[in-house]
Symmetry: C2
Subunit: 301 residues, 2 copies
């Protein structure tokens, strides 16, 4: 391993399991993985950055939905606007457990909000939000909540000729705005729930619909396979909606949020994932014990 | 330029235009293109290999459809099986000009044929076909009909930190079987008309439906943007169904099939593309004059 490639990881069984898997994968002998098959995939919310009290993209979206309800108060009676007005955090946090019609209503609302806009317009709005809005309790910009150990892991995998993908329930185009600078991952390696775009008069414009379904649960390996033609050999996640993607990988990493002092301590939405980790022998990251540093960018080199 | 990187291209304005664009793109100064934006995209049928008398994948599919009609003669009365039985080449060659319902019927037939199969089963069938079937008139295996100058161009672009994608109306999963060995392009850089897969019991299985529409016409920039988050800076094609993709690029390359002696001579299906090439000043490849070698793999190095 390159000196200090995983400097923010405390020496111990978790770090060792990662290093062993990757070292074996690139070394001739049993466990060698051909370069073509070296696909790694990570969830984003709760895996690459903090997702409490809600995944950051909700903050971005809620600002627009609030304006929409102001302009059209009738919206306040229906979902997802109703949950927003009533500060019903559980509605959004447990979205994957809602009935399909409700999930579709949320997806439709997302898609409708930016209908007719170009990628440049949408990207500028995300950039403005990233540069100005702060997390409600931690008082830092959202990009300050990216986990440094995971950035190191991405870099370490790339140095070992893994192609690293992010596969998130969050918005594909939202993540693509900061993926390259923040994660060092090209836009084409970012997979997520996607708006539909049409090509017209020489430019792309959002149609107001969505392309494919929500990128959660079985949707994660489905989106990954559609995008890459493979299932991942290494996958990282933290929640129940990541279980299928983690099951589909040879090596699964589950981030356990057990550090209330430096980040957040919770198991809501990850009960099934933690069970499967025990049953299937996944490598579990204790933020408290395995990460000596939680937040911050990785230096050059 | 690396010595002989484009050895199968005859010196002249076409080769020079390519070299100039790529050299300028990677050199500081006006025309420099940041690495992140260096997306190149090529059509497949008629651009990377021969498409006469029909794109090779039709041969692969027709063998299965013939078996389906034998098993269920009632199919012979409806499209696309009817066109197959009647050897109606024009039906398939001009598919993009058919009404949407007919196009959908063909797409549905494609999808239905392999419903329930796994990627491994489908890939094995494509591999068997590639290894055993020969082109009806040229009497070589289909992979012998890949254009060596285009393979050199792909390699040259990759050496200049372009990420090269194939974006074809043909089947995504069909092309992914040979993309890595033949083109030197990872599966995730292959975009095409796509079957829908579901994740179930730890594996991917074809649902029998399709994902997104036909990857032709405006569908090409739409598929490219969905997959990569960008439009290409360089694009290559040969047919009317490539016009929108070519228009969306800074540098457009149009392959003109004018060499009846070594390949095929035809303009059917490319009239509008040739018009646009003149109007917009695209770089037109004359197979006869610009390629000193047409077929064959590129050597190492």
């Amino acid at each position: 391993m390159a000196h200090n490639a995983l400097a923010s990881w405390t020496d111990g069984p978790t770090k060792q399991a990662l290093v062993d898997f990757i070292t074996t994968a690139v070394s001739p002998g049993p466990g060698f993985i051909p370069v073509a098959d070296r696909i790694a995939a990570f969830d984003n919310d709760g895996t690459l950055w903090s997702e409490q009290p809600l995944p950051p993209q909700f903050d971005f979206v809620f600002r627009r939905w609030s304006m929409e309800v102001e302009a059209d108060p009738a919206l306040a009676g229906r979902q997802p606007y109703k949950a927003l007005i009533e500060h019903d955090r559980d509605f959004f946090a447990g979205l994957e457990t809602q009935d399909p019609a409700t999930v579709q209503a949320v997806l439709d609302a997302f898609s409708r909000t930016w209908a007719g806009s170009t990628p440049e317009e949408f990207d500028a709005e995300v950039t403005r939000w990233l540069e100005t809005v702060r997390h409600p309790t931690l008082n830092v910009r959202y990009l300050g909540l990216v986990y440094r150990p995971m950035l190191e892991l991405i870099k370490y995998l790339q140095a070992n000729e893994f192609r690293v993908f992010v596969c998130s329930g969050g918005g594909r185009d939202f993540m693509r705005v900061f993926a390259e600078e923040t994660w060092g991952i090209h836009k084409e390696n970012v997979i997520g729930t996607a708006a539909d775009f049409r090509y017209s008069d020489g430019r792309m414009v959002r149609s107001g619909g969505s392309l494919g379904g929500l990128d959660i649960g079985p949707g994660k390996p489905e989106h990954l396979f559609a995008q890459t033609g493979r299932l991942p050999v290494l996958a990282g996640g933290n929640a129940d909606v990541d279980v299928e993607m983690l099951e589909s990988a040879q090596f699964a990493l589950l981030v356990n949020h057990d550090d209330g002092a430096r980040e957040f301590e919770y198991t809501a939405g990850s009960g099934r994932a933690i069970e499967r980790a025990v049953e299937l022998g996944w490598t579990v990251v204790s933020i408290k014990n395995d990460w000596n540093t939680v937040f911050g960018p990785v230096g050059p080199g």
